[in-house]
Structure formats: structure tokens, C-alpha cells
Symmetry: C2
Subunit: 296 residues, 2 copies
């Protein structure tokens, strides 16, 4: 059985087709690495890549793409609706098969050492890769965004875990971590009022009394003329996709608003899609072994 690690690097570039293509090329240039998905959003001004492969191959592909990102993305002229602190904003490692979380922590630290030394970009380790408890939560690390990093990095609380003690002039800083699988799930509403998206996000997320393991923010998708509830389902086995969808719909109804469409970002385990089918078709006995493709 092959050992497989997943990484879902997020870059603060969602518009320039040349940069997006250069990043895809970098990921694809390493033998044994699959680019399972990539998506770019001009409003978020962000692109997300899902790569899979053996640990060393994934690390090599990340180094290549990170170099492209640091060289070509300048955060000083960046305006996007998604929180970010760097050109190469977030890189999580996820153990998928034959690999443990500790090994993903080690990969995160190796990538951070390289990025801090070779590219002179300060790095924060988050979630399982965090060296201090205050940096486990990504939202805390990113608070204040690029501007806080650039203007106020000398504060002790902002001293990085690897790399130089000040922000890279154009690329800011980076968050590198290790974690279990999550589902990135965005729901666009039939309104363009971001306040409604924010109010819904506040109610459906765990922090606001919503679903366990659910993180949510409201985002203004100006280019699309729509407001979005952008979510991470961090405990997808307990907090099912359909339950998140239906709860957002239910909260939206309070404003006479409905779900326009949704998007799944990156790769999703088949089991979570089957659970969605079981719910909507009321087909409780559907088994993974009934999926034809699982047999060849």
C-alpha cells in the first residue's frame, strides 16, 4: 500500500491567469504528485490546490510552488475578501494512508525551515504542528492579516517559529500546519448582502452554538453579486455535509433568503458523499461496497 499525504496549499492570488498556471505547472512538475483539484476565486483573491502523493514528492512539489508564489505575488497591492497574512498563506499537511499525523508535523517543520531560510519568509506553525498552544488555531495566527504582520511584527507575540524576525516585503508570512481531513464547503446565498452571510455564519458555527467542529465566516462575493457563507467542516464524520447545508438553509430562511448554490473545495472522502446520498434518498443501507468503481 502506497503511503499518501495530502496538502492543500492556499495562495493569495485568485485573478492572474499566468500566476495560476505557473502554480499548477509547479505542482505537476514532480513525478508521483497528483493535482486532484484546483480552484481560484477572484473575490476571495485566493487559489486553493489539492495535491496527493508520497511524503517526499509532496514536499518537493510544495517547495517549487512556494517559490513561484513568493516571487510572483505581492501582498502590498492585494485586496481580497478572505483573511490572509501571506502570498503563500496557508499550507496544511494531512495524513491519508500509511502515514501518521506526527509525520505530517515533521513535514510541516521541514517545509517551514526551508521557506524561512531559503526564501526568507517568516513561518508560523499551526494546529498539530504548533510549537505553542496559542498558535494552534489558524484564525488566531492570522488575526490582523498581512497589515499587522508587516507593520507590527516585532511584537513578541508575532515572532515567527522559523525564518527572519520581520515580514517578507512582498510575501508577508506563511502558516504551515498539520491536521486531520476537513471539508471546505462554501454556500452562496440568493442575496448580495454580506451582513446576512455573516449573521448566518455566526449562528451555524460551533463558536456561536452551531454544529460541532464547524467554522464559518461570511464573505462578500462582489464579482459574483452574491454573499457567501464560507465554511470548514473539521469533524466531517460527525458533522455531515447535508446537516451543514440544511442548517444554513434554515437560518437563511429567516431573512427570506435561500441557497443559490454551493461548492466543495478540494478533495472529499467518498464516505461523506455517500452519507449525503443516504440522507436525501432516505436510503440508509447504502454501502461503500455498492459503489462499482471501488472494485476496480
Amino acid at each position: 500500500m502506497k503511503r499518501i499525504v495530502e496538502s492543500i496549499p492556499n495562495f493569495s492570488e485568485g485573478r492572474d491567469p499566468d500566476v495560476l498556471e505557473a502554480l499548477r505547472r509547479a505542482f505537476r512538475s514532480v513525478e508521483g504528485v497528483a493535482l486532484a483539484d484546483d480552484s481560484a476565486d477572484p473575490d476571495h483573491h485566493r487559489s486553493v490546490y489539492t495535491i496527493l502523493g508520497e511524503p517526499e514528492a509532496v514536499l518537493e512539489a510544495l517547495c517549487k510552488a512556494v517559490r513561484v508564489g513568493v516571487e510572483r505575488i505581492d501582498l502590498n497591492h492585494h485586496q481580497g475578501s478572505h483573511p490572509r497574512i501571506g502570498a503563500v498563506d496557508v499550507i496544511p499537511f494531512v495524513p491519508l494512508q500509511g502515514v501518521g499525523l506526527e509525520e505530517c508535523v515533521a513535514l510541516a517543520h521541514r517545509l517551514g525551515e526551508w521557506m524561512g531560510g531559503e526564501l526568507q519568509v517568516p513561518v508560523y506553525y499551526y494546529e498539530e504542528a504548533a510549537l505553542v498552544p496559542e498558535r494552534r488555531n489558524l484564525a488566531d495566527v492570522r488575526r490582523g492579516g498581512f497589515e499587522a504582520i508587516r507593520d507590527n511584527m516585532l511584537a513578541d507575540v508575532r515572532q515567527p517559529d522559523a525564518g527572519p524576525g520581520r515580514a517578507h516585503p512582498s510575501a508577508g508570512a506563511a502558516c504551515i500546519g498539520a491536521r486531520g481531513p476537513l471539508i471546505a464547503f462554501n454556500i452562496n446565498l440568493t442575496t448580495n448582502n454580506p451582513e446576512i452571510a455573516r449573521a448566518i455564519a455566526t449562528r451555524v458555527r460551533e463558536k456561536g452554538g452551531g454544529l460541532k467542529g464547524l467554522k464559518a465566516i461570511g464573505v462578500d462575493l462582489k464579482a459574483k453579486g452574491s454573499a457567501q457563507v464560507s465554511m470548514n467542516i473539521t469533524l466531517p464524520r460527525e458533522t455531515s455535509l447535508y446537516r451543514v447545508f440544511e442548517l444554513v438553509r434554515l437560518e437563511a430562511a429567516r431573512y427570506g433568503v435561500d441557497v443559490a448554490e454551493s461548492e466543495l473545495i478540494g478533495a472529499v472522502s467518498q464516505e461523506f458523499l455517500l452519507e449525503t446520498v443516504r440522507y436525501y434518498l432516505r436510503c440508509h443501507d447504502l454501502k461503500e461496497s455498492q459503489v462499482l468503481e471501488n472494485w476496480f
Copy 2:
């Protein structure tokens, strides 16, 4: 790439656990054959097996199981709510990978020759394996059931395509065919009135002005205290699972009845499940490549 054929043999036994276990054992006894799914229903008095493998291996496994079925199932004492003409009632071959429909027709004919000669069970070839157009449609071949076969087989119209010119005394006759993939989908209603299930079946199926390629009958599930709409979706690429589900629900509403639960019988292609997820989550861009397991 492996050459893979699917077969979904239907036996007229859904109650006796010893016979069901003997059939499962027969399928599993052949190297290279996967028993992807099996289900038995006491009301239908019928069990359905889904096997996958290379053509010769699948044929060998079928011969073994067919012998068990002919020896151990006696239709003279059989009462079930599902139409049937034989102990080994229906055996379709379906091409899945690296195999054409013509090869499945040849497999159907080889199995029929063997069953007619070795086991002395008359065989009708249906759908793509039919030798005459009047036998393409399985419902036509099975009309009148076991009783018509047993009591009136000498009529020209009932002369079999292989095997002896009269019904096997306990096992009746068999239908063997070749066809493209279909989805067997049953919906149980919140009523035990079979007339309602029949009325819904009549309206949702193609013949009654319903969905293209949909076949449906109403079945009385006495053991379950429920009425069922039992369906085959023969064009699952055009006629999606969710549309069938929602149309049955809509027709049921006319009687104040709802869907209690549904069941998918046998193996289903992942694409059809993804289309269901796309519909219910309004997640139109979900791609097959986003299913994690498709990459290892």
C-alpha cells in the same frame, strides 16, 4: 487494464438462510470474482447478487451458483410478490470495462447452453441476447410467471431458446440476457396499500408517460407492512436517481403518502451518486476527480 463483466443473478429464494448462504459461498468460491453486494427480500421472496470479475471467472461462478439454485429451490411451493418464471429467474451480463456488449451476449448464450443441457432447465434469451425481437423485453418473456411455463409451455410462443421443450419440474425456466448498466431502486411508502404503490408506478414509468427508461411496478411488502414502488432505471445517465426519487414523492403526495425509505440494489456507478449530491447540495461543479479515493 483488467477486463470486467458484471452479472446480477436473481434467485427466487429470499427466506431460507441456508440456501442464501450456499449461493453466496458458490459465488465466492471462484478466484477473481468479487461479490460486491447481495440482498434478500422475504416479501419479494427473491435474492439478488452482484458479481464482478473477468468474463471466464464470472461464467464459472454463475455455473456453480445456478447449480445450487436449481437443486435447492422449488417453485411449486413458492409464493412471492415479485414476477418470476424460475428458481434461477434472471441472469443479465453487463459489460463494464474492456468488454463489449457482444461479448456479454456470447457469455449469455454459453451459460444458456450449459444450463439447458447440463441442468435440463429451458432458457430464454432476453434484451441484447434475444434471438427474436419479441423476447427482448423481460416482462414479456416472464408474463404468466412460473405457472404459465409449467402448465402451458408447449405453445410455440413459449418454446425456449435453449434446453428442453418443457419446464424443469421444480426450477421452471430461466431468462438469461445481456444489457447495459441499470440501477435497481426500490422506494417504500408510508402506506401499506399496494394499490397506491401500483398507481404511482403506473404514472412514473415511461410506459405511463413518466420518465424515460424507467420501469416500475407496485409491490405489497407484507412482512414489512409497507407498499413499495420497485423500479429499474435503464438509462441512468439521462434519468437521474434524484429525479426518480422526487417524482415518486410528488405522485405519492396525491394520496397524502410520503417516502418512508429507499434501497439501492446491487452496485451503482459513482457518477450517479455524485449527480445526486450535485442536485441536493446545489453543488453543480462537483467533479469525479474531487473524490479522494479515486486517486489511490
